[in-house]
């Protein structure tokens, strides 16, 4: 090789190396940015919440008073509302989603499988505000006029669970919010469960059938134990969504910072309080208290989501290693 082509060659190689270094560092920077995003969110929120947390200390979590006039703020009512609405929503949505997933994987005729599956996946993409306004304009009036009076008459006088169903039928309140949440997370949990059920190897199911098991016995004794981790992971992801959901709840919860024994009474959740009050909050302590609510929500959902992702990750690894 003569001198000239060697020089050309090396300048080409140098350009390639430079390009490699630039591109590789660009991707690395972008990836680290994702990491920094979570750190940034944590720092910004704790920073904003600091005045309120320093002022009320542990009392912020243990008191349910929320009075902007006297500037006394406690998160207990909002935390309670967040947890109770999500729990009721999961109590409704999980069994129904399980049914949908079983139907889609084991029961549905082949021609129905795809349309129903696709419909459910598309519905999971419908924005939550749609569920919110439907809850406010359609579901709440129905509940107020028919369902809630009936519940009050039927369950109100009972000794143990009676107090949950007493008081006037407002239409909007904890129960309505929970129902809207349940409908909203339903497509999401169903499609995760279906995906998990489909990871069960056919051989396992076939050996169940070979032993003479019924479809239900195969589902309950083969499919469910095999996909247990994935099911719990999917439920936790749904729970994470329900806990942090804002718009579906804000419309129908009634935004009352109190803990009522009745599920029919208005309440509030963390996200609904922030959405309702943030832009109207006067004074730095009020704003800071709302951000502190955000910190609590972040802690709650972060732990739920982290557990869920960890479980789903384990399932993925197992699926990979069994291939």
């Amino acid at each position: 090789m003569d001198q000239l082509s060697l020089a050309v060659e090396s300048s080409h190689a140098r350009r390639q190396r430079l390009g490699e270094r630039l591109f590789a560092s660009a991707t690395l920077i972008a990836a680290v940015l994702v990491l920094a995003l979570l750190g940034g969110v944590t720092i910004a929120l704790v920073n904003g919440a600091w005045p309120a947390l320093a002022r009320f200390q542990l009392g912020f979590v243990t008191r349910s008073i929320w009075n902007p006039v006297t500037e006394q703020f406690g998160a207990l009512a909002a935390v309670y509302g967040t947890i109770i609405t999500s729990l009721i929503a999961m109590l409704i949505a999980v069994p129904v989603s399980f049914g949908v997933a079983v139907f889609l994987t084991e029961l549905s005729p082949r021609w129905l499988k795809r349309p129903v599956g696709v419909a459910i996946e598309l519905l999971a993409a419908v924005p939550s505000i749609i569920f919110g306004i439907w809850g406010l304009f359609v579901l709440a009036p129905i509940l107020q006029e028919t369902v809630e009076p009936w519940l009050i008459g039927l369950l109100g006088p009972l000794p143990a669970i009676g107090p949950l169903f007493r008081g006037p039928p407002y239409g909007i309140g904890v129960l309505t919010a929970a129902l809207v949440l349940a409908i909203m997370v339903l497509p999401f949990i169903s499609s995760v469960m279906r995906d998990v059920f489909e990871t069960v190897p056919d051989v396992l199911k076939e050996s169940g059938y070979g032993l003479g098991a019924t479809t239900w016995e195969v589902v309950w004794q083969v499919v469910v134990p095999h996909s247990r981790v994935g099911i719990v992971g999917g439920i936790m992801l749904g729970l994470g969504r329900a806990l942090g959901e804002t718009m579906a709840v804000t419309f129908v919860i009634g935004n009352a910072h109190r803990i009522s024994s009745s599920l029919l009474a208005p309440g509030t959740t963390i996200s609904a309080s922030i959405a309702n009050e943030f832009t109207e909050a006067v004074g730095s302590l009020y704003t800071s208290s709302l951000i502190a609510l955000g910190v609590l929500l972040f802690l709650i959902t972060f732990s739920v989501i982290a557990v869920a992702r960890f479980m789903l990750l384990r399932l993925e690894r197992r699926a990979l290693s069994s291939v």
């Binding site: 690395l28 972008a30 939550s128 306004i133 239900w216 832009t279």
Partner: protein, 283 residues
């Protein structure tokens, strides 16, 4: 009852319940879509797309909100997508199974399902407070933060589908990884990346909570990115909560518009993946 009969009855009962659950679930969801279409269509007219959001008690349209939503979404994606695609490339091509990549993957999954109102609070703290007022830029940044994890996830998944043999062939020709990625991997995964972008747009365009205290709202026509800007989700929120029938009607029409847009985007995403991807493989 004999044992075998009991098993059969249990089986029939359980399967019937699962069918009932499916019917109940689909009925609820169909009811929502039905209300949305019937109530939303009632307000659809030319004015919806030519008039501004009205003051209480008078008729109007959603032009400024539609424009604002489009602008916020476009800017948000323009900021978020490149970061997301690059980070996804790192995870799929450079980081792979390293510890750092594992941590980033996990954090990204957490961000993917983090409550969007938290993102709103975050941008409020780092953009709105220092600047001193709400702005379209803040709204777009909030949407970008939401778009990033979605794009990272889909990009990584799609790049990993590209056969290792194609990358090896490029490497064997003496190409550096960046040439391989730009010249072989990206073109091969193009339809997957486009799908990811469409899904990110769909996800972002219905978000309400993060816009409430970043972009805020604006009753008038505004293209000023430093000022609050009208946008469909927040307009729907405010109008639906109001006692005025005209506003509530506009809220339903806006809701229908958003849902149709998102459903179209989701269907387009499936179409791109289903139709373009196999065609490429068979070549």
């Amino acid at each position: 009852m004999s044992r075998s009969l009991r098993r059969k009855v249990t089986n029939a009962l359980a399967l019937a319940l699962s069918a009932v659950a499916t019917v109940i679930g689909l009925t609820c969801l169909a009811a929502i879509l039905w209300t949305l279409v019937s109530d939303g269509l009632a307000g659809v007219s030319g004015h919806l797309f030519t008039d501004m959001t009205p003051p209480p008690g008078s008729a109007g349209g959603l032009l400024n909100a539609i424009y604002g939503s489009a602008a916020l979404t476009v800017i948000g994606i323009l900021i978020g997508a490149p970061i997301g695609i690059l980070a996804g490339t790192y995870l799929a091509e450079y980081g792979r199974e390293t510890r750092l990549a594992g941590v980033i993957r996990f954090i990204n999954d957490v961000l993917l399902s983090a409550p969007s109102i938290i993102v709103g609070l975050f941008i409020y703290q780092v953009v709105v407070v220092p600047v001193g007022h709400f702005s379209a830029v803040a709204g777009a940044l909030a949407l970008a933060v939401i778009a990033i994890p979605v794009t990272v996830r889909t990009t990584e998944d799609m790049l990993r589908l590209v056969p290792q043999g194609m990358k090896d062939a490029s490497t064997a020709l003496g190409a550096y990884p960046w040439r391989t990625i730009l010249g072989v991997v990206y073109p091969a995964a193009r339809s997957g990346i486009v799908t990811g972008l469409l899904l990110a747009i769909a996800r972002v365009s219905g978000e309400t909570a993060p816009l409430l205290f970043t972009a805020l709202n604006n009753q008038f026509w505004s293209t000023d990115l430093a000022a609050p800007i009208a946008n469909l989700p927040v307009v729907i929120y405010q109008f639906a909560m109001s006692p005025y029938p005209e506003w509530q009607q506009l809220a339903w029409s806006g809701a229908l518009l958003i849902t149709l847009t998102i459903l179209l985007l989701s269907i387009a995403a499936r179409f791109v993946l289903a139709v373009l991807q196999p065609a490429k493989r068979s070549r």
